[in-house]
Amino acid sequence: MTDHPSYLKVFLIFARNSLVRDMTFRANFIIDAISSIAWMSMNLAFYVLIFQYTPMIGADSGWGKYEFFLFLSTTLVVNSIVQALFMTNADEFSELIRTGSLDFALLKPIDTLFLVSLQRIDWSSLGNLVFGLGLMGYAFAKLDYLPGPVAIGLYLLYVVCGVAILYSLMMSLAASSVWLGRNQTLYDFWFYITNFSRYPKEIYSGKYGDPLRWFFTFIIPVLLVINVPARFLVRSLRPHTAQDWLLPAFALLAALASLAAARWIFNQALVRYRSASS
């Protein structure tokens, strides 16, 4: 008997309970999964259409059709993990603050950030993960190439970093509802910011593009979320020179800094929290 809970065990119980809950409304679960896949298929159709007219997104950027599909599948993988693990929880967190139910979370003998971040897992969002992996397999088959174990290992590491950055951003936005009272525009804000991460960073160039790229790389590092892992999958875009490795190295740092910042904001929010009830 230790005096602190086993976090892994608690997480697995959360995952199991959420799965049981999802399976209770099975038809709803299937419809949810299908609708998110339908949404993504439409996005895919849009890019297929674009590549009818152009060989590449950005002149000499290296993002040809199938290379871009690898980018798109990475977007799907990262976003579906974030949605499955944290989206529902971040949404409920704002609600916990507004209604004062956060009291119950604070009383439990477990790290509060852990508890409010992972309580409920949305399994249906993983439909997009499967779709993303399928798309990735298709792109690799078309490119007739498979990355080595080191590239795959690095890819997985940077997918985790990407998830960490997005999670930190989402939690910080959710925690800000302590100050704002309610946070209706959370999703809007979230959507508008992450929208910048969905494209290869090469497209942000020129007089207005360069500052924008700089801002979303170093201040709010959402451009690292997809770009860094996706490049490990594309042979021609993998880091080759020492200078190419600077960005992945920075991404590691950015992920850790984001997590630290999110925890700091979260703690600040808890200090300001006044129970709404009782």
Partner: protein
């Protein structure tokens, strides 16, 4: 007749006042809605850079790079007219939870009431959104080929006004499917998906190749975003323009009839309980 006009005027006035309460939040939200356009500009600039010089005559489906940006901005205007957020779900919910009873008991027509309510919301929306819209269009004026001639402008305005009514009656009809199936949310999701893709909100539908382009131009969704914008940019002219406007009007009449019929037959099936 006069009593009726007074009633309708009162409904319109109350709805306008209700809407003006949140004007600050509203103007900011409108400005934020232009943010995705920023990424669209960069995406299309990158696409065009790969096929030739951006400034030069390179075209995709008849659209130059500035045309694309102007097109996306114009669809924001057409969507401001044709989109009816929550209309279909609202009607379906009223049917499910029984609120629809009030339209059956009170001497007021449901479709007329909802149309006035929406008109009021839209009017306030244009009033408040005019400033952010003007600002964005002014900043992006370089992407536009200049003002079109008076005839084109008149056609543009006509098709915008019709797109408002078309959007309203289309969504209202869909919402009234709730008289037959109590849960219509997944059906509406599919509609939203189709709407996003086929209305031209995502890209100019001229880009669709072969049979797909023909099919998408057969259904009325193109009038909700694509058609007014293409008219403004001078992509549709002459006989094609006249025919397009006539078709839009035809669809509008058809959908008014469909929504009336759906209401009439729906109410026959409907049974309300309790108070």
């Amino acid at each position: 007749m006069l009593a009726r006009a007074t009633t309708w005027w009162t409904i319109l006035r109350i709805s306008i006042e209700e809407r003006l309460v949140y004007r600050g939040d509203f103007a900011l939200g409108t400005l934020m809605r232009f943010l995705p356009i920023v990424t669209q500009i960069f995406l299309w600039a990158a696409v065009f850079s790969a096929i030739g010089t951006r400034a030069g005559g390179a075209k995709i489906a008849g659209y130059t790079f500035p045309d694309f940006i102007a097109y996306y901005l114009l669809t924001m205007i057409s969507r401001a007219f044709s989109s009816m957020p929550g209309l279909a779900t609202g009607i379906a919910r009223d049917i499910r939870d029984g609120t629809v009873k009030k339209y059956l008991i009170q001497p007021i027509d449901m479709l007329g009431f909802l149309l006035l309510y929406r008109t009021a919301h839209k009017l306030v929306y244009y009033l408040v959104a005019a400033v952010p819209f003007a600002l964005v269009f002014y900043l992006c004026r370089g992407f536009f080929p200049g003002w079109p001639d008076a005839m084109t402008l008149a056609a543009f305005v006509a098709s915008l006004v019709m797109s408002f009514f078309l959007g309203f009656f289309l969504e209202a009809t869909l919402g009234m499917i709730g008289f037959w199936f109590l849960e219509v949310s997944s059906l509406l999701f599919v509609y939203m998906l189709f709407n996003f893709f086929c209305s031209g909100h995502m890209f100019p539908i001229d880009m669709l190749p072969g049979i797909w382009g023909t099919l998408v131009k057969l259904i009325p969704l193109q009038y909700l975003a694509y058609f007014p914008s293409a008219v403004f940019l001078g992509k549709i002219t002459g006989a094609e323009l006249a025919w397009g406007l006539a078709m839009q009007f035809g669809w509008l009449l058809l959908l008014i009839a469909a929504s009336r019929a759906a209401f009439r037959f729906g109410v026959r099936r409907y049974s309300g309980f309790g108070g």
